[in-house]
């Protein structure tokens, strides 16, 4: 079979809107396949948060959460933040770092890939996997009757938590652009784990450490969830500040990532 002769005058230089949407969808599909097939990532990221939630909130602190339902809501929110942030951070951050090391981003820059399609795909998958990790926790909490809130509140809280993955997507991008392949998971943990504790998400902090909680994105996202749930007892900063914190971190992390990508590719 012969090659199709090329009509040099007839190359359309720009993708039609339909083909453009197709390119984005294809990119998302491939990214999702990669994440699903990467068992080393998918299992801990999707299963660990719900397992920890069941262990801590229902077994270890089971009496406390039964006595003060709001403590139960707070713990639910804390583990949900963990669930939504891990795929965003580790899925995006480490895979991006590996891809940069493999030269994949250089290849994409040379190919006519739509601008930022890989980025859109990563963020979409980060959010989707966050949702997948969150739903079992929600189901567990509802089944164990640890979410004594109005349905509207639960819905608002769920939406907030899922959207709360965005700052962590940005954080993942930043880590993925700053560090090289194999060291990225280490650095991601270095940034991520202290935040889980120092933001006061998992256990109450002494008063002298309150000042530093705003430097952790986890704190702001958790606070947003507390506002969405309407749990006044655990609202430590005004809604506006929490939103500003979450948006601010997203902007900061994204800016670093974009700047770094523009320089290093």
């Amino acid at each position: 079979m012969n090659a199709r002769p090329m009509d040099h005058g007839a190359i359309a230089w720009v993708l039609s809107p339909r083909r453009l949407a197709g390119a984005y969808l294809e990119e998302i599909r491939c990214e999702a396949l990669r994440l699903l097939r990467n068992r080393g990532l998918a299992f801990p990221v999707l299963v660990m948060p719900v397992a920890l939630y069941a262990l801590i909130a229902l077994v270890v602190a089971g009496e406390d959460t039964a006595r003060d339902p709001m403590v139960g809501v707070f713990l639910f929110s804390a583990f949900s933040v963990m669930a939504i942030s891990m795929p965003a951070l580790f899925g995006i951050g480490t895979s991006l770092a590996m891809e940069r090391e493999m030269g994949l981003l250089r290849l994409k820059r040379a190919q006519p890939a739509p601008a930022g399609s890989w980025l859109v795909a990563k963020i979409a998958c980060g959010l989707a996997f966050g949702l997948i990790a969150y739903l079992p926790i929600l189901a567990t909490a509802l089944a164990a009757d640890r979410l004594p809130l109005e349905p509207v509140r639960i819905l608002a809280m769920s939406a907030t938590l899922v959207a709360g993955a965005i700052p962590f997507c940005a954080m993942g991008l930043m880590i993925g652009t700053l560090f090289r392949g194999s060291s990225a998971p280490g650095y991601a943990n270095l940034v991520y784990l202290p935040g889980c504790y120092l933001s006061g998400m998992f256990f109450p902090l002494p008063k002298s450490m309150y000042w530093q909680t705003p430097v952790w994105p986890q704190f702001h996202v958790n606070q947003l969830a507390m506002h969405a749930a309407g749990v006044g007892k655990f609202q430590f900063e005004p809604l506006l500040m929490a939103a500003a914190g979450a948006v601010g971190f997203t902007v900061l992390f994204s800016a670093v990532a974009i700047w770094r990508l523009a320089r290093k590719g």
Partner: protein
């Protein structure tokens, strides 16, 4: 846009640096303010200083006005250079990112130092701290407020300039504004004109501590009207000065009268401050009553504050334009460092203030100590941690190497043969013209001219590190040349549309391990407007047999074929293949070659880099040899064959190098360790003559010159 003399920009850079460094000195003085209650600043020193109090007051009058004036000037310069979108991107990176990142890093430091200092000032017990005002938008911006203010002013400036472009199509309004600025810049009109809006804004303040001048908007994210007017006027004036062609000259001319007016006004303010530290509430009953006896009323203070601020700001700028124009490495360094130094100074300065606050020493020892130690720390951190790193890149727009040198000027053109015209002399679909590229001072390509034509395969040959991959990266738009033109399909490779006609197989790229070749090709096909059918691509690349196996489980050769499939799926008009056959077995390589020939027959231009001469022989129409960044030969494959058909002859002989070197057929002759080394195009004739002329000749050796040898020789010739 008027071109501004770069010499003058040096002066303005120096002024901006000065305004920021003055800020460090100002904050360093604030623990020595006489009469300030403990708690107002991080530390209340046990040796207050009236002199530092007055100096700080005077510095505070004008330093931010001066800063925003220069900022306005450079904002328009940048806006003209980058356009609105580029300007926004630039300012986001250089101002917004440092604001957010700086705040996140500095705020915890600053607040902990404040708590430590206030605890110390109150004898070890932290007094109850006043609650942060619970009003909408309240936010402790700290000294980074100036960045936030800048962002507001940039937004307003962009809005106004877009508006001006829309309603002032005939440019009459803007010409009138330019005329006004030029006419008003004489002394003392400019100072008075600029003073009026600032004075009116200050007068309207219900509670106004005279000392604070324009109230610092560091407690709220809501834009504050008085600073917006006060610093907006400065910024806008800077913007207009950049518009005007004569404004800088006027500023330089009237530097002394402006400065003197500022000094007189500042002195008067100082004296009046002794009488009354705070303005009576409300707008003055009669705003035209400027003095009460000899001391200033509220409106008088507001007016005189404007005169002092603008007199000093314009005087200092004018003096700099007059005396500091021209490049000075020291001033340049300080101006570059000042942004970082100012951003980072507050915790350092405050920590030192807290540390020395209760030492039983006079302020005249402690203040210089604070200043010197903090500046040493800040400049050292700049030099080693900022200037050569990404932080410096972010703040100053460029990163310096630790041992900074001027960029290498492009060397003279290499003595390459002019590249032959393509098939039928058609216009090239991809070309490099006069390309020079250096990496960290090492020249990767030096005045290279190469062209690729439709239906033609151009092989780039050369040893490792010759610059072949650099040439391909230039064509792909992955790097930019230092000099020369890169063309791809009638445009530049940076244009996304041009890349629709491009296919590429890169050397050190690994595709995602989890995906199969089929999925990879499907993804790459989705990028193109008119891709080949999926199965057809797989067939042509010879990957059908393993199309559904995960890429990570393929052999090295199979991976290369999968990459080749990705490269050809979009029916490219130009195909770049960087070492395509590395790792392929003979069969796979034959299949790859057949596929490449199909593409050539269809009119695709192929640029191929390779180590293997046989690959070039099998496919290439033209060959370009690159070595050490120089294009040392181009021509047909036959030309290359002639080049490589050279033989190396070596022997021990009594014949002299000069004599043998002159024989026909001898291209090169050298004597090394008593052995004669010859490079010959016609080895048989030369050997016959050698034996005939020197019967005692011994240890004769004749061998084919390898391609690498040919390269090396050519490189030596080229050098």
């Amino acid at each position: 846009m008027n071109p501004v003399d770069p010499q003058r920009l040096h002066a303005l850079d120096a002024v901006r640096g000065f305004a920021l460094m003055l800020g460090v000195a100002f904050h360093a003085a604030l623990s020595f303010m006489p009469g300030w209650p403990p708690g107002l600043w991080a530390m209340a020193d046990n040796s207050p200083s009236p002199l530092l109090g007055d100096a700080a007051f005077v510095a505070h009058i004008f330093r931010m006005t001066l800063f925003f004036f220069i900022a306005g000037f450079f904002a328009r310069l940048l806006h003209g250079k980058l356009g609105a979108a580029g300007f926004c991107r630039n300012r986001l990176l250089r101002i917004a990112v440092p604001l957010v990142a700086g705040w996140v890093l500095l705020y915890p430091l600053i607040s902990s130092i404040w708590i430590a200092g206030i605890t110390k000032a109150f004898g070890g017990n932290l007094p109850p701290m006043p609650e942060a005002p619970r009003v909408f938008g309240a936010f402790p911006l700290t000294h980074l407020w100036f960045l936030y203010q800048l962002l507001q002013l940039y937004a307003i400036a962009l809005l106004l300039s877009a508006l001006a472009a829309r309603i002032d199509r005939s440019r009459k309004l803007r010409d009138a504004a330019d005329g006004l600025v030029s006419a008003a810049l004489g002394f003392p009109m400019a100072v008075l004109l600029l003073t009026v809006p600032v004075a009116l804004a200050l007068m309207a303040l219900p509670t106004w501590y005279y000392w604070s001048g324009i109230p610092t908007p560091d407690q709220s994210l809501i834009p504050q009207p008085v600073p917006l007017v006060g610093y907006g006027v400065a910024f806008g004036f800077g913007w207009l000065v950049h518009r005007s062609s004569t404004a800088l000259a006027s500023l330089a001319r009237y530097w002394l009268p402006n400065l003197l007016a500022g000094v007189v006004a500042a002195t008067w303010l100082l004296l009046s401050l002794r009488v009354s530290p705070m303005a009576p509430p409300g707008f003055p009953a009669n705003p035209l009553d400027l003095v009460d006896g000899t001391t200033l009323t509220k409106s008088g203070f507001a007016f005189m504050h404007g005169v002092a601020a603008w007199g000093l700001a314009m005087g200092i700028t004018g003096a700099a334009l007059r005396f500091l124009s021209g490049h000075s490495p020291v001033r340049r360094y300080i101006a570059d460092a000042s942004y970082w130094v100012y951003l980072a100074h507050l915790p350092v300065v405050a920590a030192l203030q807290v540390w020395v606050g209760q030492w039983p020493l006079h302020w005249s020892l402690k203040y210089p100590f604070i200043l010197v130690v903090s500046l040493v720390m800040l400049f050292a951190s700049y030099h080693w941690l900022v200037r050569p790193t990404l932080v410096g890149q972010l703040l100053n727009g460029r990163r310096y190497r630790r041992t900074d040198r001027a960029p290498n000027p492009p060397a003279s053109p290499s003595p390459a043969l002019p590249p032959g015209a393509g098939r039928g002399g058609s216009a090239p679909v991809a070309s490099l013209r006069g390309i020079t590229k250096t990496f960290d001072g090492i020249t990767a390509l030096d005045s290279i001219d190469i062209q690729a034509h439709s239906g033609e395969l151009l092989a780039l040959l050369g040893p490792n590190g010759a610059g072949k991959s650099t040439a391909i990266s230039l064509w792909l738009g992955l790097i930019e040349a230092d000099g020369g033109d890169v063309a791809l399909l009638g445009g530049t490779p940076q244009e996304a549309a041009r890349r629709q006609g491009l296919g590429v197989m890169m050397q050190d790229v690994e595709l995602p391990r989890e995906l199969s070749p089929r999925e990879l090709v499907r993804l790459a096909s989705s990028y193109y407007t008119d891709p080949l059918p999926l199965e057809e691509t797989l067939r042509r690349a010879g990957v059908t047999a393993f199309a559904d196996r995960a890429y990570g489980k393929l052999s090295g050769g199979q991976k290369r074929l999968a990459q080749f499939a990705v490269a050809i799926c979009g029916q490219p008009r130009v195909l770049f293949l960087d070492e395509p056959s590395v790792g392929l077995d003979v069969q796979a390589r034959e299949a790859l070659w057949a596929s490449i020939r199909e593409l050539l027959a269809a009119g695709c231009a192929v640029v191929l880099t390779t180590h293997y001469l046989e690959e070039a022989e099998a496919l290439a129409d033209r060959v370009a040899v690159i070595a050490k960044g120089h294009l040392i030969a181009t021509g047909s494959v036959d030309d290359m064959r002639a080049l490589v058909a050279r033989r190396r002859i070596s022997c021990e002989s009594r014949l002299s190098v000069a004599e043998v070197g002159a024989w026909p057929g001898v291209l090169d002759a050298r004597l090394e360790r008593d052995r004669l080394h010859l490079t010959a195009s016609d080895a048989e004739t030369v050997v016959r003559r050698l034996l005939a002329e020197d019967p005692s000749l011994s240890r004769l050796e004749v061998r084919e010159a390898g391609l690498n040898e040919a390269f090396n020789e050519l490189t030596r010739e080229a050098a």
